[in-house]
Symmetry: C2
Subunit: 674 residues, 2 copies
């Protein structure tokens, strides 16, 4: 018999409730769900028990490290699905889980309400008195205990004396009693979901950000002179005027001399060639040094401070690779793989060779020291005031390193933001996002047609990645001048940046190449820029009258003024009857802010199409006109019904960013739309 009892196990067999399918969760809690401060965090679960007893559920959550759980109630939303939520006030790491139990008090009330036989109801009241006595016994609060004891006596007395079935039921179903009892449920046989699920709450910029990438060495206003951090300071008003939040600089470290590449990636550099900032490390230092021609560490710190005055944050590029003359190569030879002749293995993708770049060997026996040193590089720049890092090619470094490093760094500095620069296979990009990267580059640059854009942004906003993969979309980068831009018009540049700024809460451009519509490739078929800043200085005429800077500034101001554009979860595409046109809407949950965008994807011709709005979904009524306020041009259109014609000329502006305004008064006066 003793042996027979063994397999029943430690769990109490009287636990009858079940919690399944808790959402959100990522890979069964292996990775953290991501949210931003200010969000309401909604959790759902399937909760049920055998039989017909009523159950109750609670959502439990706590800050990581806290021992006490906070409790949020859960309500049944149908088909054994329960929902609860709590408000995320503070950034940091959280845990949450769900608990459910068979609630005999609720079952008793539920049955009682349907009883008709007086004798039955009397018996039920006696059972109820026992249940309430149980609740009284669980109370720590003496006043509550007294009140519950009074209910016990009242139920017992009524069971003996009263003869009006309806009066007895009324007494037993009293909402005061219900509320009292609900505060002291019997959790003896409660089922606890077996996992505490992780949640990371980032600051708001993790969710909503506009990035501007710029080479500091081209910041000089003087043609031919190498730019400095001081020159960058002078450009801060220009960048701030365009409404960006993040000013991101390519690597600022000393550039290798050995195997240096020349202009346009020439295999051999000339004596004046300044090299690629991604060929990191030289006699002057490595990943924690500043390239002398840019200035000093102090200059850099001053740039950060000045940027803050313009509401701009400086983001730094972290590229974990070395030029052959990087100090690491000499000081830590065991961090690099060797060829049979003892030389360091350079990067290669046969038959191509990248002899100016030595990758780290993440299978080194000294991997622990390597990890610590790379984490120290981040710590060093955090010490200078950097809070945002764009990580170069993270997919070519060990996943386990990133998970460890980001977790470790954010534990100390929960306001850090890491942007993953990976344009590789989808599952690799998703893995990087899961293991901790705050934001991720996307395939947006190569999604150009209506079908491609709808499919891709539907996947980003509503696919399984929505809980952890925060897209940051770029129409160009120093490595990516797409064919669409090479062969595009001014309208193409306007359309692509408008799509980026409105389809995604986070986006960026590489400028001034973008706003000045640079579009010549190094050679036909290449996505490289001709005379790329990656290998040489450039001088930019930022005052050019055709610059897109004012247009981009308008877009960023619209983004800041409209909450709907500051998150992606409400994105829905709208039917528009023209294959060259795309339309979509974003809205706040209360519909106080509804943005409708329409974009002409044709670089050359005026296109028109009937755009269909689901009126009910936007709180509109059939037969009632509403106003579409184009926030780019300021024009206001009065629309009627679900279908309205939209026409866009790429020679002027290929995009409408409408704010939908419902009429609040009956007068035909535009002022009454809001």
């Amino acid at each position: 018999m003793a042996e027979d009892l063994q397999p029943i196990g430690q769990r109490d067999g009287r636990i009858r409730a079940v919690v399944e399918n808790v959402t959100p969760q990522i890979d069964d809690g292996r990775f953290a769900v991501k949210r931003a401060a200010g969000d309401v965090f909604v959790v759902e679960a399937d909760c049920f028990a055998d039989g017909h007893d009523a159950i109750a559920c609670a959502l439990l959550w706590r800050r990581e490290g806290a021992t006490q759980w906070q409790v949020a109630p859960m309500a049944h939303v149908g088909n054994d699905r329960w929902r609860g939520s709590f408000h995320l006030d503070a950034i940091g790491r959280y845990r949450y889980t769900v608990c459910a139990w068979v609630d005999h008090f609720l079952s008793w009330q539920h049955d009682l309400a349907r009883r008709v036989d007086l004798e039955d109801i009397r018996v039920a009241l006696r059972i109820g008195a026992q249940l309430v006595a149980g609740a009284a016994g669980r109370t720590q609060d003496a006043a509550e205990r007294d009140r519950l004891q009074q209910w016990v006596q009242e139920l017992a007395r009524a069971a003996e004396s009263a003869s009006d079935a309806e009066a007895l039921k009324h007494l037993a179903l009293d909402p005061v009693l219900s509320a009292l009892a609900a505060r002291h449920p019997d959790l003896q046989f409660a089922y606890w979901y077996p996992r505490e699920l992780p949640l990371v709450v980032d600051r708001e910029r993790a969710r909503f950000s506009a990035w501007y990438e710029m080479f500091p060495r081209s910041a000089s206003l003087e043609p031919g002179r190498h730019g400095t951090f001081a020159d960058c300071e002078k450009l801060l008003p220009y960048v701030a005027q365009m409404g960006f939040d993040v000013l991101y600089l390519p690597p600022i470290h000393p550039i290798g001399q050995l195997q240096r590449k020349g202009k346009n990636n020439a295999l051999v550099a000339g004596p004046d060639d300044i090299g690629s900032p991604w060929a990191i490390g030289a006699a002057e230092g490595g990943h924690t040094a500043v390239h002398p021609q840019l200035g000093t560490l102090e200059d850099f710190r001053r740039l950060i401070a000045r940027a803050h005055e313009h509401d701009l944050e400086i983001a730094l590029d972290i590229a974990f690779q070395c030029a052959p003359d990087h100090p690491y190569v000499r000081e830590h030879p065991e961090w690099f793989r060797r060829r049979p002749d003892g030389s360091v293995q350079y990067a290669e993708n046969p038959p191509k060779k990248y002899q100016d770049i030595y990758p780290f060997d993440f299978e080194s026996v000294r991997w622990r020291e390597l990890w610590l040193e790379l984490a120290r590089v981040f710590e060093f720049w955090i010490g200078q005031g950097v809070k945002i890092f764009r990580v170069d090619n993270p997919h070519t470094k060990a996943f386990a390193f990133w998970e460890w490093a980001i977790d470790r760094l954010q534990a100390k500095h929960p306001d850090l933001i890491f942007l993953s620069e990976a344009f590789t296979r989808p599952k690799v990009m998703h893995r990087l996002a899961k293991l901790g990267f705050t934001q991720s580059y996307t395939y947006f640059a190569w999604r150009n047609t209506k079908r491609e854009l709808i499919d891709y942004f539907t996947e980003l906003a509503h696919g399984p990645g929505r809980e952890y993969f925060r897209p940051n979309v770029w129409p160009n980068t120093p490595d990516i001048l797409t064919e669409a831009l090479q062969f595009g018009t001014r309208g193409t540049f306007m359309a692509r940046v408008a799509l980026a700024a409105t389809l995604s809460a986070s986006y960026g451009i590489y400028g001034p190449a973008y706003e000045l519509m640079e579009q010549t490739p190094r050679e036909p078929g290449s996505e490289e820029y001709l005379d790329s800043e990656k290998y040489q200085l450039r001088h930019w005429n930022r005052e050019r009258p055709d610059s897109l800077a004012p247009f981009i500034g308008a877009l960023n101001r619209i983004r800041r003024a409209n909450l709907a554009l500051q998150r992606d979860d409400s994105l829905r595409f709208l039917p528009i009857e023209n294959e060259q046109m795309i339309a979509y809407a974003k809205s706040t949950p209360d519909l106080a802010n509804v943005i409708v965008c329409a974009v002409n994807l044709d670089p050359h011709h005026v296109q028109s199409g009937w755009l269909a709005l689901d009126l009910a979904a936007f709180g509109l009524q059939e037969g009632q006109p509403y106003q579409m306020h184009d926030l780019v041009t300021g024009a206001r259109y009065l629309w009627h019904g679900a279908r309205n014609l939209v026409s866009l000329d790429p020679q002027r502006c290929p995009v409408h960013v409408f704010r939908l305004q419902r009429r609040v008064h009956r007068e035909q006066d535009f002022d009454y739309f809001m």
Copy 2:
């Protein structure tokens, strides 16, 4: 520094491969995936590593209890998805998992194939020699070690001497070397998926079965006499002739006298009323006793033996509830809940009372003893030779009990089959299937229209439940005489049983009520049969000329002869242009057996519709005729092209069950279709 290293943890940071999203799996391995003996078990996983190195993966599996893993190779099927499989020869419990690693030998070969520079290739050969030496060092087999050592020398020699780049590459990519090296991969930094996923392999009948339910007490061929097990023996040829596999009997135990219900569920029984078999237990005994009027335990064992001679298995109904005079009530008062007056709490669903039924209290302090006793009931009947149990209302007993009991019983008797009789909320039904029930009742009885049938069977065959929820569909039961049957015609009865038998690999009917087309309800609006056998004896004229027994026999013979009908995973619905008609196909993976069904759902009128076949999906070519052999009527139709007209008369036969036969010779001779 020591403290700094701590958080890196125990895992070796050099493990660079990742395994994610292993399928199939249920709730992250909490529950077992179900398969049947003879199946090929296919496992897929997302496997990848950082960077560009090649990886390799293996599928590992073992019988539960075995320590040694068996290995099956996995192949890349695109987008970082890998697939492997193994054959399930034996029933029982298994575990499986996936392992992946960066494979430097494969990476080396991959890079080498793309190298062009002779000097480069020479260096690569020296690296290759080191890698092959590593493989040699890992070999236990002396002969293989020698062969690998010869390759080491050959590669080293070639690296020094040869001058023909192509010849060197040819040598290094030799398939003999590749195969040798693949047998001895470097698993030093292999990633093991962190879970061993459970798999249950049942016998074939778990997947493919036809059930016939029959009340033994109505088995007598003499009107008015209580049937016996001996009478049941005489009906075995009748049941076997209809082609069923399982003969399922309602409870065979002594029936309670106290609070016994009368005919048609009358509250008070008359002196001759025989009671409901589900009101279990009386002075003569409880769940391990036989109702004296049916015969003895020995008679029952003989029935089982005789049934086997007819290829029939006896399934027993296990209903864990007690009549008030069940011995348990006296012997184990603590297994029942008490009312305030000390009496046992009967079943109720206010305002309804079921005073003839005492449910067990699964929150009893004596729950351990209760569980053991209930398991003993199963053991008792297993001891008599019963291997299949239909469990009555499992959803009103604790989930944890079922999981423990089924696991415990199947561990000793892996050939047991448990059918869950639960017509409750979908998530509860799924939970019961997850925690171990072999087969599950479904909502089929209430899915009648084309849309309902398509949606429901698509969900059953292709929804997430497909890995663990094996549907067993019943057009009727003693509790369920649907409105469709009440108001249906002979055609309705034919159509519903044909749908059940062809849409689902497992199905059942309650007879002879079904084949004799019993359709009168107890009262209008009720789903209860009038004069139900649940409360009284019935005498059936099984020889009635309009009986559906021959039709049902034909269906079951078709099922046995056609592998396509013996599983559900290939089910696909076919377009047919008539809302009263439904069409679908099932096929074996090699298309050697393709069954196409068309059913007229209209009880009264001839219906016709154009049925569309995706020719390519069935291995047919446009322009080539094919034969549709109706296995019910024997008729053969020559079809051309994708669209063909189907017409069905419910007065004659509302169903086609076609076997699709492709022509193998050009002659216009039907014999050449196969």
